[in-house]
């Protein structure tokens, strides 16, 4: 895609407090503690890149497609808990960020996107590389702004970071016309954000908290339904304290993976469409549900009226609009999960739930996750199970979207928060590998692994070169079934096996990796899997692509078909 370069006036050096808008931008980013941004330059962002040239402490990672920049910013934010930053030029550059920004919106991830815009005098004239990016991103950002004066840049940046990371986190976009980046100004870098209508409520109402504590203390079949909000607010210690104090079982959403140590005996793992049968039976039989940092997504609830029909629901969320959006809450509590749980835990008397646990253990024994290895074929689940064993659940894993994502969610048992990074709400294929890169930049000290499918990896694999360039020791495990596996599964279950456009012809990914300068391993037989994974996990300073040719007929089960209830769960294929 063309990135036209039009003549730009050389930015004048800053004299005293005077600087260009672009220099003010870099200074403002520095003040937010930004150490890294992912981006791709172009005509409208040239002044910004010129200012970045001098900024050795604000590191720019050149990606080969802006979509990767946005996904990497998300991976960075989710692994580190800090705000991820991505940047693109105007028009096509900015529109390429859209998928990643939407992903951040759906999964409440704090990122700031900085885009170039065409110069002020031609805005609205269909100028070269012009797109109305604030208009386009209005529904997919928490907030966005077009900055029309260089002197306003510091406040815009300050406001963007403040909005991105506070309350319910989310993406914020700042669009800067090229001539604003070039304009000289004397910026006030100490300004505070001005958002009078924005007042997140952090502390829950004490009466509601007391009522919730009573409901939990008197419950016979209580359960916790914990989601990504626990991770964003850092409420894992409070959640764990609640469980240790009361013995109440916990189910996790896909976004909630890592909200609690999944090897804890009280943790039932993931619930929902592809969650464990025992987690789903348990939540559906509960009499009191403590829902924290979750949004009653349809992938969790199935048919709403049949979801947990007998339960009193306590719903804690920092976003008041989530409470009662899909399922009415009997005890609504608006507030930050960490603060609300901290207030709630000491008030809960341990309920009498021995019979409840007896029932849950019976389900857990009867319906564990299981898989079989067909002769000579590699089972996807075996690979996921093995990755879990080899890492002890202590690596940071980023997945792409599809069957492999659900198998990882089922088999990889996270030990701590911010270790499972996946596109939950948007389900964006192509997310896994860029997000893993972002996570590796955020946490170079940790083992980070990308687990992808063949379909999703093909969408963003050009940035292997970026990982090679920055010597990222990043294992990329492809669960390759030569298909868009989840699409194929739905077609075989619900479309009479008519496999329309779901089978893929793939390149030899191991050789492809080598062409990029990475390491590549192709795995065709079950006995080769373990040595290959061990080699990949031990590879330093370069990405290592492990292409594992898996059983092409495997389906992801259990499954509650879309829009149905736990009673319709498919347990065996």
């Amino acid at each position: 895609m063309a990135r036209a370069i039009t003549a730009s006036r050389k930015s004048s050096p800053a004299t005293g407090r005077q600087m260009t808008g672009a220099q003010a931008l870099v200074e403002a980013l520095r003040r937010e503690g930004v150490e890294i941004l992912f981006g791709h330059p172009g005509g409208a962002s040239l002044p910004i890149y010129d200012a970045l040239y001098d900024a050795r402490d604000v590191r720019h990672i050149l990606v080969r497609h802006e979509q990767v920049a946005a996904h990497a910013a998300v991976g960075y934010a989710r692994a580190s808990g800090r705000v991820g930053v991505c940047t693109a030029t105007s028009g096509p550059g900015a529109t390429n960020l859209v998928t990643g920004i939407t992903d951040a919106m759906m999964d409440s991830v704090p990122i700031v996107a900085i885009t170039g815009q065409v110069p002020r005098p031609v805005i609205g004239n269909d100028a070269f590389q012009e797109a109305d990016v604030t208009g386009i991103t209005m529904p997919i950002t928490k907030y966005n702004m077009l900055v029309m004066r260089a002197a306003d840049i510091p406040r815009a940046v300050r406001t963007a970071f403040y909005l991105a990371r506070t309350g319910r986190p989310g993406p914020v976009l700042v669009d800067i016309p090229r001539d604003v980046s070039q304009e000289l100004c004397e910026p006030d870098l100490t300004v505070e954000p001005q958002v009078p209508g924005y007042r997140p409520v952090l502390d829950g109402n004490p009466n509601q908290i007391a009522e919730a504590a009573r409901a939990l203390s008197e419950a016979q079949r209580p359960i916790v339904y914990a989601g990504g909000g626990i991770i964003s607010s850092g409420a894992t210690p409070e959640l764990t304290a609640l469980v240790e104090r009361t013995g109440i079982p916990v189910t996790l959403t896909l976004m909630g993976k890592g909200a609690m140590d999944e090897t804890h005996p009280r943790c039932l793992g993931m619930l929902g469409m592809h969650g464990s049968a025992y987690a789903n039976w348990a939540i559906n039989s509960a009499d009191v549900i403590l829902a924290v940092g979750v949004r009653f997504d349809d992938r969790v609830t199935g048919r709403l009226k049949d979801f947990a029909p007998h339960a009193r629901i306590i719903h804690i969320d920092i976003d008041p609009a989530e409470i009662g959006k899909n399922k009415p809450a009997h005890i609504p509590i608006v507030g930050d999960a960490k603060r609300v749980l901290a207030a709630l835990v000491p008030q809960v008397r341990p309920p009498q739930i021995e019979a409840w646990w007896k029932q849950i253990e019976e389900w857990r024994e009867r319906y564990p996750f299981r898989y079989r290895q067909r002769d000579g074929r590699i089972s996807h689940q075996y690979v996921c199970d093995l990755l879990n064993r080899l890492t002890g659940g202590r690596a940071i894993v980023a997945t792409d979207v599809g069957q492999h994502q659900m198998w990882m969610a089922q088999w990889y048992r996270c030990r701590e928060p911010r270790t499972f990074i996946t596109s939950g709400g948007l389900g964006a294929m192509g997310f896994g590998f860029p997000a893993a890169m972002g996570a590796k930049f955020a946490r170079p000290d940790r083992q980070v692994i990308a687990v992808v499918g063949d379909g999703g990896f093909m969408m963003t694999l050009q940035d292997l070169i970026t990982a090679v360039e920055h010597r990222l020791g990043l294992p990329i495990i492809i669960l390759n079934n030569n298909a868009l596996g989840m699409v194929r599964q739905w077609q075989s279950f619900f479309y009479r096996g008519r496999l329309s456009a779901s089978l893929l012809r793939n390149p030899d990914f191991a050789r492809l990796a080598e062409v990029f300068g990475a390491r590549g391993i192709r795995v065709e037989r079950p006995e080769e899997v373990e040595p290959a994974l061990q080699a990949a996990l031990a590879t330093e300073d370069t990405p290592c692509v492990v292409d594992i040719l898996c059983d092409p007929e495997e389906n992801c089960l259990p499954m509650i078909p879309s829009g149905q209830s736990v009673a319709e769960m498919i347990l065996d294929g």
Binding site: T134, M138, P196, G197
Partner: protein
């Protein structure tokens, strides 16, 4: 109006900033809901505008609308005012055909509705009427037989009665 829906009024105080109207209208559009009327104007504080929005929605969804609107950064307050005692007004300008024979008849109707004649030619008369939506509807209904040439309505504006804030 779709089945199971009713006209719900939501009053929204917003900062006067570029793009706010689009954000508010866009949020409603994204939920696939028809905007019955939307009127905007400044308040006693020139930096703040009030929008009165009437939408077709299921009665139990109105509060959810208000909550979603409150999430917009420029929204200072959003209140679903279903069921509260309110003062509602709408203004309409109606340009109607007249002949020497119908002129007095129309002025009589205008008198009953406390409408005023704001323009008059030998073939047309323009009337201004203010009131609740139903009154404006009734007035327009009566004028139809004379032939309405053009019409403009403001959409509803609403305040809650008494000391309670809207």
């Amino acid at each position: 109006m779709a089945e199971g829906t009713h006209a719900a009024t939501i009053s929204v105080l917003v900062q006067n900033a570029p793009g706010v109207l689009v954000r508010v209208a866009g949020l409603i559009r994204r939920r696939g809901v028809n905007i019955h009327s939307l009127s905007v104007g400044p308040t006693e504080d020139p930096s703040v505008s009030r929008m009165t929005i009437v939408v077709d929605t299921a009665p139990d969804r109105t509060e959810q609308f208000a909550k979603q609107l409150r999430k917009l950064v420029e929204v200072l307050r959003a209140t679903a005012i279903d069921g509260l005692p309110t003062v509602d007004r709408e203004l309409a300008l109606v340009k109607v055909n007249v002949t020497p024979g119908t002129r007095l008849e129309i002025m009589e109707i205008a008198n009953v509705f406390r409408a005023s004649v704001v323009d008059l030619t030998d073939r047309t008369m323009t009337l201004e009427v203010t009131g609740r939506g139903e009154k404006v509807d009734a007035f327009i209904e009566l004028l139809k037989k004379y032939g309405i040439r053009e019409m403009a309505r403001t959409g509803q504006v609403t305040l809650v009665r008494g000391a309670q804030a809207t």
